[in-house]
Amino acid sequence: MNPAARKIVPKPKALNCPSCGSAIELRAMGAAATVVCSYCSTTLDATNPQLVILQKWQSQITVQPLIPLGSRGSLFGAVWEAIGFQQRGINVEGTNYFWREYVLFNPYKGFRYLSEYDNHWSFVTPLPSIPVPGANSAGRPTMAHGGVVYDHFQTAQAYTWFVIGEFPWQVKVGEVVTAADYVAPPRMLSSEATENEVTWSAGQYIDGNDIWAAFQLPGAAPPAIGAYSIQPSPVVSAPGRPWKLFFLFAALLFGMMILFATKARQETVLNETFTFQPAATGEKSLVTKSFDLKGDSANLQVEVNGELENAWAFIGMALINEQTGQAYDFGRQISYYHGVDGGESWTEDDRSDSTILPSIPGGRYYLRIEPETEAAAGSTLRAASPIRYSVKLVRDVPFYFRYILGVFLLFLPLPFMGRKGSNFEQLRWMESDYGAPPNVAVSLSDDSSGEDDDE
């Protein structure tokens, strides 16, 4: 309806750097204030069609952006083009700490930033409103915004070391602003102040791999180093959270146990009763009839029951595969003793015993049994009496021990988790102005306090 509405703003034409003559592509459609030539690093006024030189490059350091300028990626619901890159630094007690910032641009949504420090990334959005200053219980400064209280982390003079590409403000190497960070991991509020302006922005932690995926960068994101101010604690530090996880996984194990218990076939494949004559001479071993173990690999429960009278018996067994000859040797000892001692009757009843053979492949098997008792070795009268015993084989039985073990293993790290979380918090706050987490009262020396918000 409006004829002007169909007017398409063309891609900006390539211009030439007035300093070195290289082609400069303006990506931000005129929204940028500064463009820095990628070749000779001369800073130019992007608002002037003649690209007036603002600053000639004094080469100190050169930094290669990890996200090439001109690449586009979809982050937080919009497409962004990386158009500018700078390295900034602060000096703390003689040591320079550097971080890098990428300017992201969308002609409708405006500017966002990606900030990178030791391969920790955050996505930064300019904040239209200003936060409310306060103090925490330890007397340390805070900023409140959107119902979240942020703890003061650091205030420092941020120095611009290296710049290429386009910026929505006029940026120069050597520019210094007072930068303050307040953190509520995984979020951060940052302010940058000069004499006539203070700007606030909100950052949120983002995994480097998400950036690599969004911008389709080759390879993988370099691994993050150390603990970053707004890195989510890798160990759950919220009280109660480890217990929640514990109960979740315990419930999961319980569910698996129920599932496998109901799925277990519990098929009795052999149930025979034998009589062992210890006094008899000759071959004591016997073999059972053959039986089928169906299906794939599954366990096999062996249960031995004996009728004993103040005696013990060891039932040596071998489960033998008819086809392959593969043998599984095992044995069970049973015993029953009772008597009267000092007018009190006592019993020791171990007349039945069972075991589970794990992972027996399917096939046709038989059992070779070789019982033993002390009568066989020596010869006492009472042991000479015959022993009746039964052997029962059950294929695929539910097996509870591993679940109990699982729950036990889940429980093991719990007492340590809270501690590890607080160790991470110590590490996180080590790099702050305070060197200690926000619940610790620390008085700052005058030179690093930047809290006096305004004059």
Partner: protein, 213 residues
């Protein structure tokens, strides 16, 4: 919205007003700045070539603010030491008018507002200065020396030959926004709020090659 027509006193092209209360407009054809006296238009100046477009908004863009439809009918372009911004003159379907400012795609809607207490003179305002208006506590976050860079379309006042002036931007804890404009004496106060681009539901936007809104 009535559309009184007139003739450009410079080139004779028809001038169509989108907004009946417009005091000033520009001729789309010869770029003359025209000021309306009753029914006659007087040429008061000539628009230089506008600086490169820095906004997806254009004259004719339509949108909604707080459930009231508006149309963009004019703009003032300001530039300052480190950039430029647009003040788009918007006219609502109920006949009232306001401003949609676009500073590097940070959007705010504001309306002229009578100061409840005297505004400080330009040499006495500073970053952090606090001012309350309509129960909103505002704090100066930016002081800018800006100059007029160009005008386009219909404006509620004559604006064509202003020099460098001081502007103070104020923000609140809840996204409210104000500007103290020292182009006039006493200074003007505009009060409003920051708005999300998507919430404005703008149509008839400029298209950018290689981008979709």
């Amino acid at each position: 919205m009535s559309q009184p027509s007139a003739i450009c006193p410079n080139c004779g092209a028809p001038i169509r007003f989108r907004w009946s209360s417009a005091i000033q407009t520009t001729c789309e054809y010869c770029k003359s700045i025209l000021v309306r006296h009753d029914v006659n238009l007087t040429k008061v100046g000539q628009v230089a070539d506008l600086p490169p477009d820095i906004s997806p908004i254009q004259i004719g863009t339509e949108g909604r603010y707080r459930d009231t439809a508006f149309q963009v009918v004019g703009r003032i372009i300001y530039s300052h030491a480190v950039g430029a911004w647009n003040e788009w003159h918007i006219v609502f379907s109920n006949g009232s008018s306001g401003w949609l400012s676009d500073a590097q795609a940070e959007y705010a809607v504001s309306f002229i507002s009578a100061p409840e207490s005297p505004l400080p003179p330009p040499d006495q305002i500073y970053r952090g200065f606090e001012y309350s208006q309509q129960g909103v506590r505002l704090s100066v976050t930016t002081l800018t020396e800006a100059s007029y860079e160009g005008v386009e379309g219909e404006l509620p006042f004559q604006f064509w030959d202003k020099t460098t002036c001081r502007f103070a931007d104020l923000r609140s804890i809840d996204g409210r926004f104000a500007t103290i404009d020292y182009t006039e004496s006493p200074p003007l106060l505009f009060l409003g709020e920051f708005v999300d681009f998507d919430a404005l539901r703008l149509v008839n936007l400029k298209e950018f090659e290689g981008w979709t809104a």
